[in-house]
C-alpha cells in the first residue's frame, strides 16, 4: 500500500519535470488565475534534503509566466549565499507564449555580487543573480537552483503565493529528514496534514497547493504571510559552525543561544573599576541601571560586523571595552556585563525589530529574530534597554521593538516575554498655537507642542541625529504650508521611560489665508491636517489591523484683522466610531478665532465589514480638518 502511494506521487511529478514544448503555453493557464495578476507561478518544487550530518541540500525548481511589464520583477533569479551556504548550481530556460523554448541560461552570464546592505561595516552576504531580460510578453522563465547549507538553523519558509498579486498553478514543498532529527513545522492556511512517507531512516513530508488566484491589495490588511498558505520549518537539532542546538522548546533554543554568549562577559579591570565608581553611592538599582546605560551610550557606538557565526555570536565584552563599538549583540552583551559587575541581573533578549510586531510563531521554537535588546527584571520594575542607541532614554523602546514577543535568554534557556505596549494615552501630542493673520493674509504663529512616547520617536531623531543647520532645513521642507519662514525654533527633551519632547516654533507663512475681493478664507487648523483617505471597497475580505494608537489635542487661537465679520463658520464636529473619536470646536469672538481639535485613534483589529465605516470616518476627518471660515470685510 505504502509503495503505491510513492509510485502515484512519482508519476504525477514526473510529468512536470520535462517541459517539452507547449507545457508552459500561456493557453494552459486556467482563466481564474489570469484575473488581476501580472505573474503566474506555473510550477514550484522545493525540496529540502536534511542529511544525518546536519547539512541541508535545498533544490528549487520554479516556473513563472510573466504576463506584462508589471510582472517583470519576477523574471529575476536571485540566489543569496554567505559563508554558511553555497550555491551549487543554477539552471534556467526561457519559453515564449506558446511554451516553445527560446533560450537557456548561460552560466557565464550569472552575476555574482556583494549582497551587503551597506549599513554593515562588514558582512559575508553575496548574491548570484540572473535575468533573461526578455521583452515580448507574455513569456515564461524556468529556474532550477541548488544551494547547500552548513547546518539547518535557517530553513526558508514556504509561501507559495509570494505576493498577493501573484497567482499560483502548482507548488509543492518536500522535506526529507533523517528520522533521528525530527521536523517541526507550523502551517498557515493549510487545512490538511502533510503527506508523510517513511522509508528506511528517512521521513519525507509533502505539502502542495494548486490554483490559487491573485488577491487584491487591501489597506491595513494583516501581514500577507498570515493570510496566505505558508509553512515554516525547523529541525529538532541543528548545528552552526561547531555549535549545536535544539529547537525542541524555547527553553532548549535559548540554551543554544546562551552557549554562544556564555563566557563573553569578562570585563577588563579598568572597566570594572569604572562600573564601581559610577554606581558607588547610588541606592536604587533603577538609578544604577540608568547611570550605567548612560555610560554605555556615551562610550560606545553601533557598528555592524556580521561574518559567519559572528552573525549570531556577540563580540566579547573586552572587545567592546577596547574598540568602543559593536553591533546589537556585542553592545547588549557589554551592557549585560556592566550590570553583572554591579550585581544587577539582566537578560540578553532576542527580538525581531521593525514594522511587524506580530512576527513570532510561538509554536515553532527556532531562530525567528533579527535583533537583541536587554531586559532588566529589577523585581518587577522592569527596565528595557536598547543598547544600539546613543540617545534614547533608559527604559524606553519605541515603535522599533515595542508591543511584541521576545525571547529572554539565561543559563536555564529561553523564555518568551512581551515588550511594553504604548497606549493611546501614552502616545499623546498636545499642541498650542497662537496666531495672527494680517490684511494680506499673511500668518504669524507661535506653537508649543509636546510629543510623548511613540509620537516623540520622530522628534527624537530630529533632535539627536540632525545638526542645527539640518534641523532648520528639515523644518523648512516638511511643514505643510505654501511659503513660510522659520523665525525661531527650539527643542527640548525629557528622558524617561515615557519620554517627552517639546518643540517651539515661530513661523511666518505668506498668504496663509486666501483673499478674494472682500472675502477672507481661513482654515483654522494650521498644523494637524490628516492626509489619510481611503477608497471604498465593497468586497473587502481581510480584517483591518490599525496597529497604532495615539491621541492628538490641538488648541489654536487666531487674531484676525479688524472689520471682518463671519459669512460662514464650520459646524462643530463630533465623530464617534469604533476606530476613534474626533471632535472640533470653532468659536469667533470679535477678532479672535478659537479652534479646538481632539483626535483619539484607538488602534486594534476590526472585522472586514467595518471597512466602509473606516473609510467614512477618515473621509469625515479629512474634510473637517480643512474646514474654513469665510469672513466678509465690512
Amino acid at each position: 500500500m505504502k509503495k503505491n502511494v510513492i509510485i502515484i506521487l512519482l508519476s504525477c511529478f514526473a510529468i512536470q519535470c520535462v517541459a517539452s514544448d507547449g507545457v508552459y503555453a500561456v493557453a494552459n493557464i486556467p482563466a481564474a488565475l489570469l484575473v488581476k495578476t501580472n505573474v503566474v507561478k506555473r510550477l514550484e518544487e522545493r525540496n529540502f534534503e536534511i542529511t544525518p550530518n546536519n547539512k541541508t541540500i535545498y533544490k528549487r525548481k520554479v516556473v513563472y509566466t510573466i504576463l506584462n511589464e508589471q510582472g517583470s520583477r519576477w523574471a529575476y533569479l536571485y540566489a543569496g549565499y554567505d559563508k554558511l551556504s553555497n550555491v551549487e548550481s543554477i539552471e534556467g530556460q526561457l519559453y515564449d507564449a506558446t511554451g516553445k523554448k527560446i533560450k537557456s541560461l548561460k552560466k557565464s552570464d550569472i552575476k555574482d555580487e556583494s549582497g551587503s546592505s551597506g549599513s554593515n561595516l562588514a558582512d559575508d552576504d553575496r548574491v548570484k543573480w540572473y535575468n533573461f531580460f526578455y521583452t515580448t510578453y507574455p513569456y515564461t522563465v524556468e529556474y532550477e537552483v541548488s544551494i547547500s547549507y552548513k547546518g539547518t538553523m535557517f530553513l526558508p519558509a514556504w509561501t507559495p503565493q509570494e505576493d498577493n498579486e501573484m497567482s499560483v498553478q502548482q507548488s509543492q514543498l518536500k522535506v526529507s529528514c533523517d528520522s533521528n532529527n525530527s521536523l517541526h513545522y507550523k502551517m498557515y492556511q493549510y487545512s490538511e496534514d502533510p503527506e508523510i512517507v517513511n522509508e528506511k531512516d528517512i521521513k519525507t513530508y509533502i505539502w502542495h497547493v494548486q490554483n490559487l488566484s491573485a488577491v487584491e491589495d487591501e489597506y491595513a490588511a494583516p501581514d500577507w504571510r498570515r493570510l496566505t498558505t505558508s509553512v515554516y520549518l525547523a529541525t529538532e537539532y541543528f548545528s552552526l559552525e561547531g555549535y549545536s542546538g535544539s529547537n525542541a522548546s524555547w527553553k532548549d533554543f535559548g540554551k543554544f543561544v546562551y552557549s554562544l554568549t556564555k563566557g563573553r562577559d569578562v570585563l577588563p579591570e579598568n572597566i570594572k573599576q569604572k562600573v564601581h565608581s559610577i554606581t558607588n553611592g547610588l541606592v536604587s538599582d533603577r538609578e544604577k541601571v540608568t547611570k550605567l546605560y548612560e555610560y554605555l551610550q556615551q562610550n560606545t557606538r553601533y557598528i555592524s560586523i556580521q561574518l559567519g557565526v559572528g552573525g549570531w555570536q556577540p563580540f566579547d565584552a573586552k572587545f567592546v571595552a577596547e574598540k568602543k563599538y559593536g553591533d546589537c549583540k556585542a553592545l547588549t552583551n557589554f551592557m549585560y556585563s556592566l550590570l553583572k559587575e554591579a550585581n544587577i541581573r539582566s537578560v540578553y533578549t532576542l527580538i525581531r525589530a521593525g514594522d511587524e510586531n506580530d512576527y513570532l510563531i510561538p509554536e515553532l521554537p527556532s531562530s525567528q529574530f533579527n535583533h537583541v535588546i536587554l531586559f532588566v527584571p529589577n523585581n518587577n520594575d522592569t527596565i528595557w534597554l536598547e543598547c544600539t542607541s546613543q540617545t534614547i532614554a533608559a527604559g524606553y523602546l519605541g515603535k522599533f521593538t515595542s508591543n511584541r514577543s521576545a525571547l529572554a535568554i539565561d543559563e536555564s534557556g529561553g523564555t518568551l516575554v512581551r515588550t511594553p505596549v504604548y497606549t493611546m494615552k501614552d502616545n499623546l501630542q498636545i499642541r498650542h498655537a497662537k496666531a495672527k493673520i494680517d490684511e494680506s493674509g499673511n500668518l504669524n504663529v507661535l506653537t508649543h507642542t509636546s510629543y510623548q512616547a511613540e509620537q516623540q520617536d520622530r522628534i527624537h531623531q530630529i533632535i539627536n541625529r540632525l545638526s542645527k543647520e539640518e534641523q532648520i532645513k528639515f523644518l523648512r521642507e516638511n511643514i505643510d504650508l505654501s511659503t513660510y519662514e522659520i523665525n525661531r525654533f527650539n527643542y527640548e527633551e525629557i528622558k524617561s521611560a515615557l519620554p517627552l519632547a517639546y518643540e517651539r516654533l515661530d513661523i511666518t507663512a505668506n498668504n496663509y489665508a486666501t483673499i478674494t475681493g472682500k472675502r477672507l478664507f481661513i482654515v483654522p487648523n494650521i498644523f494637524s491636517k490628516s492626509s489619510q483617505r481611503l477608497t471604498i471597497n465593497n468586497k473587502r475580505k481581510s480584517d483591518i489591523v490599525l496597529d497604532w494608537a495615539f491621541s492628538d489635542i490641538d488648541s489654536t487661537e487666531i487674531i484676525i484683522p479688524d472689520d471682518y465679520t463671519p459669512e460662514s463658520i464650520p459646524q462643530n464636529t463630533v465623530l464617534k466610531s469604533p476606530f476613534g473619536i474626533y471632535t472640533t470646536q470653532f468659536n469667533i469672538e470679535k477678532n479672535k478665532i478659537t479652534y479646538i481639535r481632539r483626535y483619539d485613534h484607538f488602534g486594534g483589529s476590526y472585522p472586514a465589514k467595518d471597512y466602509t465605516e473606516l473609510v467614512n470616518f477618515y473621509d469625515a476627518i479629512y474634510k473637517a480638518d480643512r474646514a474654513r471660515i469665510v469672513l466678509l470685510k465690512q
Binding site: 557598528i303 511659503t483 475681493g517 483617505r533 474634510k623 469665510v630
Partner: protein, 669 residues
C-alpha cells in the same frame, strides 16, 4: 547675470605664470598635542559635528614593473569629531577598481584615534590586519572598509594610506570640499617632464596658495620579458611639483533643483595630455576631430558600426521589408531595437562585448544598445553617428578640450531623408527622436570625422502642459466638471513609466483618492499611452455632489494648482538648475444654471520675475452673471538662475501659489 557664461568661466585652466611663495603645512602623522583638543566649536561652522583639520593628497608618477608608469597617491587626513553626529566620519571606505589587467592597490594603511583622557593623549591604533574588511562589489569593483576604534565625542582621528593606480590618464579628481568643513585642503601633483598633465579647476572658492617647484628624479621602468629576461630602463628627468591649498573650505550640501552637487563642489581634475622624450611623443588629448576619429576606429566603440556588417543584413532587411522612405526605415529599426532590448546599465561609454553578442543577448549597456542601433541604421543606408554625452547626474563636461573620462552615455544621431533625429533606444517608453531628460546636460559630441558639438541644453527643452476644465452647476446645486490635460514631455514620460510599473488603475485611484469618496469619477481615460512620440492625454469627468449652502466657494484649479512653493529653502548658495523650461496653460470655463449668480471673482494678475520677463505668470479672468472664464499661464524662459536671483524666484512662486488658491464665490439667488 548670464549664468551659463559664468559656469563656463569657472572652469578655467590653471595657468602657471608666476609662482606664489610656498605655503608649507605642518601636518605630520602622529603629531598631535593636547592643544589640538581644545577647540569645541570651530569658527568656520559653529554647527559642524566634525571638522576636517587637514586633508592632503599627493600624487607622484613612478615607473612600474609592468613596462609603464603608475600614480602613487598618498592620502592623509586628520579630523576632529565634535559630537555623535560626526561619528560617521570615522567610517572609511576606499574604492578600488580593476579592469582585469590594470588595477588599483591599497598600501601602507595606518589609522589612529587620539583621545584626551585626564589631560593625557591616549592613542588607539587600527588593527590593519584584522579590522580592515573587503567588500567585493563585483568583478571589477571593491571597497576596503574600516572604522576607527575607540571613538568618542572629542576624538581626533588620523589616517594615511597609499594607493597605487595603473590608470594614469585620468586620476581621481581632488575634492577640496565635502560633507564636513575642511580647515586645510591641499593637493600636490608631481609631474615628470616627459608627461604633461592639464589641471582643471571647478568651484567658487579661491586658492589660499598655489605654487610649483622643480627638481630632478630618477625613473625606473621594468618591462616584463615573459620568457626572456626583463628589460630595465632607468633615466633621470626633471619634474614639476604642483601644489594647491585652500584653507577654511565650507561644507557643501545638496539642495533642491540641483542637477548634481558634482557641478558645484570645489575640485581639481587632472588629465594626461601628452608624453615626450625620452618616451616616444604622443598626444593623448587632441582636438575633437582627432578624438572623434580615434573613437570611430576604436574596437570598443565605433570600429564595427560602419563596417559592412553582413551578419546584420538579414535581420535589418526583415525589419524594413515593408518600408519606403528613409524615415520609415529608421523608425522601424529604432522601434525594433527599443522593444527587443533591455538596458542594464545606463552609465557606459564603451562596448564590453561585440555587437554580435549583443544582438544575441538582447541586453546591454546604453552604449551597446545605441551603438548596435547605429550599426543597424548604417546597414540600412541611413547615415548614423554615435553621440557621446555626460548625463545630468554625472555633471557638466569641461568644454575646452576633449576629456573622454567625463562622458558616460551614448545616443545616436541619424540622418533620414533631410532630417536629423537624436535617438535613444535604451528606454522602453521613449519615442522616435526623443531623448530622456538626463541627456539634456549641455554640450554633447557627435562622433564622426568632424567631431562637432551637439547642444543639448536644458534650455532647449520645454515642458508644455495644457489643462482645460469645464464646470457646470445645475439647478439643484450639483457641481460637475470635465477635465482634460495634455501632459508635458517629462510628465508624459514619468506617467508612462508609472503606468507600466503599476498599471493605469493606480493613476485613476490616485485621482479618486485626491478627490475624495463623495466625488464620482467617470469616463476616466488616458490617450496616446503607447504613442510615445505624442504627449499623454488624461481626461475624466467628476460629479462633486450637491452643495446646499447659500454661497459656494470654488477653486477653479480642481487640484491642478501648485499647492506649495517648490523653493522651500530661504537662501541659496549656488545656482538653481531646472531640468527644462516651463510653459503651462490652464483654462477654465464655468456655466451656472438658473438660480445661481457669480458674486465675486479673483482679480486678474500679470506677474513677471524681472525686466526680461524670464518667468511670467498670467491670470486672466472674467465673468458675466452666469459664466466665469479663466486662463492662466506660467512660463519659465530660462533654466539656470543665479543665487542672487533666488529670492525673487521664491517670491514669484509664492505669488503664483497664492493666486492659484483664490476662490470664485457663487451665490444662490
Amino acid at each position: 547675470m548670464n549664468c551659463k557664461m559664468s559656469r563656463i568661466l569657472i572652469l578655467v585652466l590653471l595657468l602657471y605664470k608666476t609662482s606664489i611663495a610656498q605655503n608649507k603645512n605642518n601636518f605630520k602623522f602622529g603629531n598631535i598635542s593636547t592643544k589640538d583638543f581644545a577647540t569645541a566649536v570651530y569658527p568656520i561652522d559653529s554647527n559642524a559635528s566634525a571638522v576636517v583639520i587637514a586633508d592632503i593628497g599627493s600624487c607622484t608618477v613612478e615607473g612600474n614593473t609592468k613596462g609603464w608608469f603608475s600614480i602613487i597617491n598618498k592620502h592623509f587626513k586628520r579630523a576632529h569629531i565634535l559630537n555623535k553626529n560626526g561619528f560617521d566620519i570615522a567610517n572609511v571606505s576606499i574604492y578600488l577598481y580593476t579592469d582585469g589587467e590594470a588595477g588599483e592597490q591599497l598600501d601602507k594603511l595606518k589609522a589612529v584615534t587620539y583621545n584626551l583622557e585626564n589631560g593625557k593623549i591616549v592613542e588607539t591604533k587600527l588593527e590593519t590586519k584584522s579590522a580592515v574588511f573587503e567588500d567585493k562589489i563585483d568583478k571589477r569593483r571593491k571597497l576596503k572598509k574600516f572604522t576607527f576604534p575607540n571613538i568618542k565625542e572629542g576624538s581626533i582621528i588620523e589616517f594615511e594610506y597609499t594607493t597605487v593606480s595603473d590608470f594614469i590618464n585620468s586620476p581621481d579628481p581632488w575634492e577640496f570640499q565635502g560633507e564636513y568643513p575642511v580647515l586645510w585642503s591641499e593637493y600636490n601633483f608631481t609631474v615628470p617632464a616627459f608627461f604633461t598633465y592639464t589641471f582643471l579647476n571647478q568651484g567658487y572658492l579661491s586658492f589660499t596658495s598655489k605654487s610649483q617647484n622643480e627638481g630632478t628624479e630618477v625613473y625606473r621602468v621594468v618591462v616584463p620579458g615573459g620568457a626572456s629576461a626583463n628589460e630595465r630602463y632607468e633615466f633621470s628627468s626633471k619634474y614639476t611639483d604642483y601644489k594647491w591649498i585652500i584653507k577654511d573650505v565650507p561644507a557643501l550640501k545638496e539642495e533642491n533643483f540641483t542637477t548634481t552637487i558634482n557641478n558645484h563642489i570645489q575640485k581639481i581634475t587632472a588629465e594626461l595630455v601628452e608624453r615626450r622624450a625620452p618616451l616616444s611623443y604622443y598626444r593623448y588629448v587632441g582636438n575633437w576631430q582627432n578624438v572623434s576619429t580615434q573613437l570611430l576606429d576604436y574596437e570598443y566603440f565605433g570600429k564595427s558600426i560602419r563596417k559592412d556588417n553582413g551578419w546584420l543584413k538579414e535581420v535589418v532587411s526583415s525589419i524594413i521589408s515593408k518600408t519606403d522612405t528613409q524615415e520609415e526605415k529608421a523608425r522601424n529599426i529604432f522601434y525594433w531595437v527599443r522593444d527587443n532590448f533591455t538596458c542594464t546599465n545606463y552609465r557606459r561609454l564603451y562596448l564590453d562585448q561585440s555587437l554580435k553578442a549583443i544582438l544575441k543577448a538582447k541586453t546591454g549597456s546604453v552604449a551597446e544598445i545605441n551603438l548596435l542601433l547605429a550599426a543597424m541604421l548604417n546597414v540600412a543606408d541611413i547615415n548614423t553617428d554615435p553621440v557621446i554625452l555626460s548625463t545630468r547626474t554625472n555633471g557638466y563636461t569641461f568644454t575646452l578640450f576633449p576629456m573622454l573620462s567625463q562622458f558616460n552615455y551614448v545616443i545616436c544621431r541619424a540622418k533620414a531623408g533631410n532630417q536629423y533625429f537624436n535617438l535613444d533606444a535604451s528606454e522602453k517608453q521613449l519615442g522616435f527622436g526623443k531623448l530622456p531628460l538626463r541627456c539634456y546636460n549641455g554640450e554633447a559630441r557627435i562622433i564622426n570625422e568632424n567631431g562637432k558639438e551637439l547642444g543639448l541644453e536644458s534650455d532647449n527643452l520645454t515642458e508644455v502642459k495644457n489643462t482645460f476644465v469645464m464646470s457646470f452647476i445645475d439647478t439643484a446645486g450639483a457641481i460637475s466638471i470635465a477635465l482634460q490635460k495634455t501632459a508635458g514631455y517629462a510628465e508624459s514620460f514619468d506617467l508612462r513609466n508609472d503606468i507600466s510599473a503599476h498599471g493605469i488603475e493606480s493613476v485613476e485611484n490616485g485621482i479618486k483618492k485626491a478627490m475624495g469618496n463623495d466625488v464620482k469619477i467617470q469616463n476616466f481615460g488616458i490617450d496616446s499611452l503607447k504613442q510615445y512620440e505624442l504627449p499623454v492625454f488624461v481626461h475624466y469627468d467628476a460629479d462633486l455632489g450637491i452643495d446646499k449652502s447659500s454661497h459656494f466657494y470654488i477653486n477653479p484649479y480642481f487640484g491642478e494648482n501648485y499647492k506649495t512653493n517648490p523653493f522651500k529653502s530661504a537662501e541659496r548658495k549656488y545656482p538653481v538648475e531646472m531640468p527644462y523650461l516651463i510653459d503651462e496653460t490652464f483654462t477654465f470655463q464655468m456655466i451656472l444654471s438658473d438660480g445661481y449668480i457669480v458674486e465675486e471673482i479673483p482679480k486678474a494678475l500679470m506677474l513677471s520675475l524681472n525686466e526680461n520677463n524670464d518667468c511670467l505668470f498670467e491670470y486672466k479672468i472674467s465673468n458675466t452673471s452666469d459664466n466665469v472664464s479663466l486662463r492662466s499661464r506660467l512660463i519659465f524662459k530660462r533654466t539656470v538662475f543665479a543665487p542672487e536671483e533666488y529670492e525673487l524666484l521664491r517670491e514669484f512662486f509664492s505669488t503664483v501659489v497664492k493666486k492659484q488658491a483664490e476662490q470664485i464665490v457663487i451665490k444662490k439667488k
